[in-house]
C-alpha cells in the first residue's frame, strides 16, 4: 500500500509531530509554542509530500504494463538542459561569500538559492509529469508564471527606478528638469510609434523595451560609479541663532539659504504676522480678523505655525521654548526654535513641540521677534 518514498515522508511526519509535542512540553513558554508551531508546520509539509508520493506511486512505472518502458513519462528524454543547478550553485557560493563579507550578499544569495531550488524542483517534476512535452511545459507555466511574472516585473521596475535615481543624483541640479522632459518625451514618442504601427512583431516591441531598459541601467551604473553631485547640507537653526547669541557669520549663512517658500499653508495652529508697523499678532482658525496675543497649545504634540513678515526689515520669528534643569539639577540653557530671517512678504513655517507645561520652565514660553522689543505672543502650555 505504502510506497518507499511515502514511507520516508510518513516517518518524517511522525517524527516532526513527536518532536513538536516533546519540544512544547519540555521548553514551555513562548519559545516552546514557537518551536511547536514550526515543527507542526514541518509535519504538514512532510505529510503533503507523503501524499504526493502515494498519489503518484513514487512515479514508478508499473512493471507489468506492456510496452510501458517506451511510453511512460519517466521514459521520455528531458526536453532540454537546465540552468537552475548552475544558479543554485551560484546562490550556495554566494552564501559562503556573504558570510565572510557583507550581510546583503548573504541575504541575496539565500533568495537566489531558494528561487533556483523551487524552479529546479518544479521543472524536474513537470518534465516527468506526462509523456507529452507540450503538456509538461504548460503545467510548469501554470505553476510558476503567476510567481515569476510579478517578481520579474518588480525586479525590472526596481532596476529602472534605481538606474534613473542614480542618473538624477549625478546630473547637475539644473539639468534635472531637462532630463525629465527628454526621457518623458522619448517614452511618449516611442509609445506613440509602437501603438500606431499595427501588427508590429512582439520581438520588435520587446527589443525596443529591452534596449531602453539596458540603456537606462547602463547610464545608471556609470552614474553610480561616478558618484553623487555635491548636495548642500543646510545648517541647523540652533537655539543660539534663534535667540541672537550665535556668531554673525553663522547666522548670515543660515539666513542666506532661506528659500522663503512654504509648502504647507493649511493645517496650522496659527498664522503669525509681523505687520508693516511692526506689531506681532496671531490669527487663529475660527476667529476671523481677531488678533491674538496669546496662544494655547497642547503639550507633547507637534505644533505648526505660519509666519509672515510684512515689515520692511528682514526678521525671523523665534519661539522661546523654556529653560529646564538637567536631571542632575544643573541649570540648562534656554531652548528655542525659529524661522530663517525673512524679507518683507516672506513666509516660513515653524514646527515645534513643547513637552513640559509652562510652570516647569524658568523662562517664559513666547513667540518673539529678535531685535524688536515689546512685541511678543504668549505661549500657554497647560
Amino acid at each position: 500500500m505504502f510506497t518507499t518514498g511515502s514511507k520516508l515522508f510518513l516517518g518524517a511526519t511522525g517524527l516532526s509531530i513527536a518532536g513538536a509535542v516533546v519540544f512544547a512540553a519540555t521548553t514551555g513558554g513562548a519559545e516552546g509554542w514557537l518551536g511547536a508551531v514550526g515543527l507542526t508546520t514541518l509535519a504538514v509539509v512532510f505529510a503533503f509530500l507523503a501524499g504526493i508520493n502515494l498519489y503518484t506511486r513514487d512515479a514508478n512505472v508499473p512493471a507489468l504494463e506492456p510496452g510501458v518502458e517506451h511510453t511512460a513519462a519517466a521514459a521520455q528524454p528531458a526536453p532540454h538542459g537546465s540552468l537552475w543547478p548552475l544558479v543554485a550553485a551560484l546562490g550556495a557560493g554566494g552564501i559562503v561569500v556573504g558570510l565572510v563579507s557583507r550581510p546583503v550578499v548573504f541575504k541575496v544569495s539565500v533568495i537566489v538559492l531558494l528561487a533556483a531550488l523551487v524552479e529546479w524542483l518544479v521543472q524536474a517534476w513537470s518534465e516527468r509529469a506526462s509523456a507529452s512535452a507540450s503538456y509538461n511545459a504548460s503545467i510548469r507555466r501554470r505553476l510558476l508564471n503567476p510567481l515569476e511574472f510579478p517578481i520579474l516585473g518588480a525586479l525590472v521596475l526596481g532596476v529602472v527606478v534605481y538606474g534613473f535615481s542614480r542618473i538624477m543624483l549625478t546630473a547637475p541640479k539644473s539639468a534635472g528638469r531637462i532630463i525629465f522632459i527628454v526621457i518623458g518625451a522619448v517614452v511618449l514618442f516611442a509609445g506613440f510609434l509602437l501603438a500606431s504601427k499595427r501588427g508590429l512583431a512582439k520581438t520588435t516591441v520587446a527589443g525596443v523595451a529591452t534596449l531602453g531598459a539596458v540603456a537606462l541601467l547602463g547610464v545608471g551604473v556609470v552614474s553610480a560609479v561616478q558618484g553623487q553631485r555635491t548636495i548642500d547640507q543646510h545648517p541647523e537653526l540652533t537655539s543660539a541663532v534663534c535667540l541672537g547669541t550665535a556668531s554673525a557669520a553663522q547666522t548670515a549663512e543660515i539666513d542666506h539659504r532661506a528659500s522663503q517658500a512654504v509648502a504647507m499653508k493649511s493645517s496650522v495652529a496659527a498664522n503669525i504676522v509681523l505687520t508693516k508697523d511692526n506689531r506681532l499678532v496671531a490669527f487663529v482658525n475660527g476667529y476671523p480678523n481677531v488678533e491674538f496675543h496669546e496662544l494655547t497649545v497642547p503639550r507633547s504634540a507637534e505644533v505648526n505655525v505660519l509666519f509672515r513678515n510684512d515689515s520692511p526689515t528682514a526678521r525671523r520669528l523665534t519661539a522661546r521654548l523654556g529653560t529646564f534643569k538637567a536631571s542632575d539639577g544643573t541649570p540648562g540653557n534656554e531652548q528655542a526654535s525659529c524661522t530663517t530671517k525673512l524679507r518683507q512678504g516672506g513666509q516660513a513655517f515653524l514646527s515645534f513641540r513643547v513637552v513640559k507645561p509652562a510652570l516647569a520652565s524658568s523662562s517664559p514660553y513666547a513667540f518673539i521677534i529678535p531685535g524688536l522689543d515689546g512685541q511678543e505672543i504668549k505661549l500657554l502650555v497647560p
Binding site: 487663529v284 475660527g286 494655547t296 497642547p298 507633547s300 504634540a301 507645561p357 500657554l380
Partner: protein, 423 residues
C-alpha cells in the same frame, strides 16, 4: 463512491430543495437587516442632534433614496434578464453589437443624476468646513487610547474662560453654540467621531484639522475612535456633553477652582501623599503641592510614548474614565442621566458622582467605586495596553497606557478617598 456522489447531487437538486433556498436566503437577509435595529442606540447617525449632523442627514437621505431607486431598477432588470433568458437549451438569439441611442441615454442619465447630487453635496461640504462663525474653540488631542480636550483662554459661547482648562474623555460644550474643534494627535492617527453631532475627522500627528460641533439641546452624545490605532482602539471612546450656558459657566468655574487639599490627618490626605508618590509622575492635578511646597508637575513625556496622561484635576466631574471606557457612576445613575429631559440634564450632570446623594452625606450614592478600585488594582487587566515593564525595549522604556502599579489595598483605599475629592 460513485453512488454516494450521485445521492448528494440528486438531493441538492430536488424541486423541494430548490424552493427552500429562496426562503432560507430571505430569512437570513431579514435577520441581517433586523440585526441593525436597536431600541436604544446612542450612536445612531440617523438621529441628528445638531445643525451639522442635520446637514449631513439632509444630504444623505435623498442621496440614499436616489441610490436605492437606481439600485432597485438595476437589480430588477438584471433579475428579469437572468430569469427570462436563462439557458433552457433554446437557440442562441441573434447577436448584435452597439446601440448608440441606448448608450448615449445611459451615459447622460447617470451624469445628470450625479450632477444633481453634486450640487447639494458641494454646498454641504463647504458649509461643514465653515469656521468664521465659531463661538468657541477647543483643542482636541488624541493619543493611545484616550482623548484630551483643552479649552483656550477666551470666550466660549458667551462664557469667559480665564485660564486654560485641560480635561479628558468628556468634551463639555455649551449647547446652541458653534464650537470649533481643532483636532490633532500625539502618536498615531486617530479619528474623532460623535455621530449625532457631526461626521468623523482624522487626528493626524503634526497636522491640525478642524471640525464644527453644535448640539441643539443639552444632553450626552457618545462616540468612539474610528481609525484603528492599536491594541485598545475599541476602548478609545468619547462623549460630548452639551450644557445650557448657565450650566456651562458653572462647569467652567468649577474647573478653574483652586486646588483644595484634603483635611490633614484624613484618609484622603494620606491618599494625596500616595498620589504624589505613585501617580503624579504622569498624571497632573493642578495646584497640588509636593511635600517641599513646590508645585507638582507631571512629566509624562518621560514615561509615556505619547508624552501625555489624563489630567485628573476634576476627575469626579466626569462620568467615565480610562478613555471613557469605564463608568465612574453606577448603572442606575447613568440611565437616569442619559434619559434625563434636556431641562434637567445640566443640573444632574454637574453633580457628577454626587448625583442623588442627600445633603450632608459623605459617600456619593452614584459613585461606581468598584470600577475605580479595579483600575487602580490592575489597569492593564481591564484595558489591554502596552504597559508590561519587561517588554518596553522597543519604546525606550516608555509605556502606552497605564502600567500595573502593584498598589496595596490600603493604598487603593487612600487613593479612592483622595480622588473622590477631585470634584
Amino acid at each position: 463512491m460513485h453512488r454516494s456522489g450521485d445521492n448528494v447531487s440528486s438531493l441538492s437538486a430536488t424541486p423541494q430543495n430548490r424552493r427552500r433556498w429562496p426562503i432560507a436566503a430571505l430569512v437570513v437577509g431579514v435577520g441581517v437587516v433586523l440585526g441593525g435595529c436597536a431600541k436604544n442606540a446612542p450612536q445612531d447617525t440617523f438621529r441628528p442632534a445638531g445643525s451639522n449632523s442635520q446637514r449631513i442627514d439632509n444630504l444623505a437621505r435623498p442621496v440614499f433614496y436616489i441610490a436605492g431607486i437606481v439600485g432597485v431598477i438595476v437589480l430588477s432588470v438584471i433579475t428579469y434578464c437572468v430569469i427570462k433568458f436563462k439557458d433552457r437549451g433554446q437557440d442562441i438569439p441573434e447577436q448584435t453589437h452597439g446601440n448608440p441611442k441606448l448608450e448615449i441615454a445611459l451615459t447622460i442619465l447617470p451624469a445628470i443624476i450625479l450632477a444633481a447630487i453634486a450640487v447639494p453635496t458641494v454646498v454641504t461640504v463647504f458649509a461643514l468646513d465653515k469656521k468664521s462663525d465659531s463661538q468657541c474653540v477647543i483643542n482636541v488631542t488624541g493619543q493611545q487610547w484616550w482623548w484630551e480636550y483643552d479649552y483656550t483662554a477666551g470666550n466660549c459661547g458667551g462664557v469667559e474662560i480665564t485660564a486654560p482648562i485641560v480635561t479628558a474623555g468628556e468634551l463639555v460644550i455649551p449647547a446652541h453654540t458653534n464650537v470649533l474643534l481643532r483636532i490633532t494627535s500625539r502618536d498615531v492617527i486617530h479619528s474623532f467621531w460623535i455621530p449625532r453631532l457631526n461626521g468623523k475627522r482624522d487626528a493626524v500627528p503634526g497636522r491640525l484639522s478642524t471640525l464644527r460641533m453644535e448640539a441643539s439641546q443639552p444632553g450626552i452624545y457618545t462616540g468612539q475612535c474610528t481609525e484603528f490605532c492599536g491594541l485598545s482602539h475599541a476602548r478609545m471612546r468619547q462623549a460630548a456633553v452639551a450644557l445650557d450656558t448657565n450650566d456651562f459657566k458653572t462647569w467652567v468655574d468649577n474647573q478653574l477652582q483652586a486646588y483644595k487639599a484634603p483635611d490633614p490627618g484624613s484618609l484622603a490626605a494620606t491618599g494625596e501623599a500616595t498620589f504624589l508618590a505613585q501617580c503624579s509622575k504622569c498624571h497632573q492635578i493642578n495646584g497640588i503641592l509636593k511635600p517641599d511646597g513646590t508645585p507638582s508637575l507631571a512629566e509624562p513625556d518621560l514615561y509615556e510614548v505619547s508624552g501625555a496622561a489624563p489630567n485628573l484635576t476634576n476627575l469626579m466631574t466626569r462620568t467615565a474614565f480610562a478613555g471613557w471606557t469605564f463608568d465612574l457612576i453606577s448603572d442606575k445613575c447613568r440611565n437616569e442621566l442619559w434619559n434625563a429631559k434636556p431641562a434637567d440634564f445640566g443640573a444632574l450632570y454637574l453633580q457628577g458622582v454626587w448625583m442623588d446623594t442627600p445633603a450632608g452625606a459623605t459617600t456619593p450614592v452614584c459613585f461606581n467605586e468598584a470600577n475605580l478600585r479595579s483600575w487602580l488594582r490592575n489597569a492593564p487587566a481591564m484595558k489591554p495596553m502596552f504597559s508590561d515593564p519587561t517588554q518596553l525595549a522597543s519604546t525606550g522604556g516608555r509605556y502606552r497606557g497605564m502600567p500595573n502599579l502593584n498598589l496595596s489595598e490600603a493604598q487603593i483605599d487612600q487613593l479612592v478617598a483622595f480622588l473622590l475629592e477631585r470634584k
